[in-house]
């Protein structure tokens, strides 16, 4: 069991309150997932000539400024950065591959949680309430956000096993359920060059989407392929730079509820997580159909 929640704002006026609206949603799913929590927030975009990386180091006092200085020198570019607990967000005038290579070589104990123009991923082991507080989630701004509270079933309670998993630039996935063919699929994807960092089944789903997108699929096409190839139970919430999607497996064992108003689209594993949203009393509330793709996108 896990809890997943997502909030996609249609009304730009609410963007300054995204974190405040989302915090109680994440905490409401504690019963479904008390061992780790995380979220991917979209906003504060950098230009096309820049890349934004979310980096994590286990040491809260890690010297991010030294890493930023090293990157600036090596890539002959500017790096703007800020840190938040064990995580730092780097905005770099370079491409993700060059920055990633430098970090892998010169700071191998730094983990890249996400890369893109818009996405930032923050996650930790612990209770959702503590994690929201650690990162000061209520103060965060943005256009949409996807979160996960984990009750580990398929791999250990570790930072690496916590969601969201980023799957290519600006793309992330959270999963409630369990995949039954993840080992075989992982081997197949490895042969295609997809790199995995954990034994987690959800990372295979994330890796599968990355691979399909590399093959030229649109997000919708990648998810249609996923329906055919991923065996097991799942409700996925997926974030992209400008969009938000929800998908359930054909058996639809894992719960999901969607709510829509003029101001937002929200999803959660259970209705409990939606009760604090403004205007929820009059929202359109429904249960997504199995094997049906629900996508919301805004113009970039």
């Amino acid at each position: 069991m896990c809890g997943i929640v997502g909030l996609y704002l249609k009304n730009k006026a609410l963007e300054s309150e995204l974190g405040k609206l989302f915090t109680p949603m994440l905490i409401a799913m504690t019963d479904r997932g008390p061992d780790s929590a995380g979220f991917a927030i979209y906003g504060d975009e950098v230009g096309d000539d820049q890349i934004k990386l979310t980096l994590r180091h286990p040491d809260t006092n890690y010297d991010w400024s030294a890493l930023a200085g090293g990157l600036e020198k090596a890539l002959s570019t500017s790096v703007n950065w800020f840190s938040n607990s064990k995580v730092a967000v780097f905005k770099i005038g370079s491409d993700a591959a060059a920055a990633g290579d430098y970090i892998a070589t010169h700071a191998p104990d730094v983990q890249i949680l996400s890369a893109g123009q818009s996405i930032e991923i923050l996650k930790e082991v612990g209770l959702p309430e503590q994690i929201a507080e650690t990162f000061n989630l209520p103060a965060m701004k943005g256009s949409h956000i996807i979160g996960h509270t984990r009750m580990a079933t398929e791999s250990a309670v570790t930072m690496a096993g916590s969601h969201p998993f980023s799957t290519g630039q600006d793309l992330c996935l959270v999963h409630n359920g369990s995949l039954s063919n993840h080992n075989r699929l992982r081997d197949r994807l490895k042969r295609q060059g997809v790199v995995f960092e954990t034994e987690n089944d959800s990372e295979v789903a994330a890796g599968y989407l990355t691979w399909r997108l590399q093959q030229g699929d649109t997000l919708a096409e990648a998810l249609e392929h996923a329906l055919k190839e991923l065996d097991g139970f799942y409700t996925f919430a997926i974030g992209t730079r400008n969009g938000f999607a929800v998908l359930r497996d054909p058996i639809a064992c894992k719960p999901a509820v969607l709510a829509e108003t003029d101001d937002y689209v929200a999803m959660a594993s259970e209705y409990q997580a939606l009760t604090t949203l403004p205007g929820i009393e009059n929202a359109k509330v429904w249960e997504p159909e199995p094997a049906t793709l629900y996508v919301w996108e805004r113009e970039q």
Partner: protein
């Protein structure tokens, strides 16, 4: 009328108060405010009470109900009226998966749509759904009736025993051993009574009847692929 606000009192306290009525009934009418999707609301009642839940309910609402009349003025989560024995449960909105699962008696009315596996393994309950039902509805249904005024999803009535299924709209597919059957006078009569009890205004002659072909009752090697 007794009013309980679930933002001020716990579901456990509410259910204990409702259970206490089984010994000595002092208050027949109950109103539950601000349920906000809480699970297990009004479970295990064993008394002829009237309970109005003013909002959306979470999982297993009105489970194991006996004698009570429970209305959800909103949507209900998974397993509403699971294992109901008697009484009535009415959901004004939609119900999630496994509505009325394994229930032995009583009437469940869903005014919106029901999700997957509505009436799974039902054992005597009558279920009337004004909207659609999801896939695998009535799976291994043993006794009772399922009335669907909208459409039914895939594999309706898979591995069915003796439930009477009536559907007005389209059936996406029938499950193993479920077949369309003739609508005789006695079925029109039964359906009319069910619609009346549920307070649903539909023309019984517009429905089709489905039931068990009874080919899976005993193992036959010819049917091995259907098990």
């Amino acid at each position: 009328m007794k009013t309980i606000n679930l933002q001020e009192q716990s579901v456990r306290e509410l259910n204990q108060l409702l259970h206490d009525q089984a010994a000595e009934c002092t208050e027949r009418e109950w109103e539950v405010l601000e349920p906000k999707g809480a699970h297990n609301i009004a479970c295990g009642i064993d008394q002829s009470l009237s309970v109005d839940i003013k909002g959306h309910a979470g999982y297993f609402c009105a489970g194991m109900n006996k004698h009570a009349h429970i209305t959800v003025f909103g949507n209900a989560g998974q397993g509403v009226a699971e294992n109901m024995m008697s009484g009535t449960v009415r959901v004004k909105g939609d119900a999630s998966q496994a509505a009325g699962a394994t229930a032995h008696g009583g009437l469940l009315v869903i005014e919106g749509n029901a999700g997957a596996r509505c009436g799974i393994s039902m054992k005597g309950i009558d279920i009337v759904v004004k909207g659609n039902v999801g896939h695998m509805s009535c799976f291994m249904g043993q006794a009772g009736s399922l009335v669907v005024c909208g459409d039914a999803g895939d594999a309706l009535g898979d591995s069915l025993y003796e439930v009477h299924i009536y559907v007005k709209g389209d059936v996406k597919s029938l499950g193993a051993d479920c077949i369309e059957k003739e609508m005789r006078d006695e079925h029109i009569e039964e359906l009319t009574a069910l619609l009346n009890r549920a307070g649903v205004d539909e023309d019984p002659s517009k429905f089709k009847r489905y039931g068990s072909a009874r080919q899976l009752y005993n193992f036959k090697v010819d049917n091995a692929s259907a098990y």
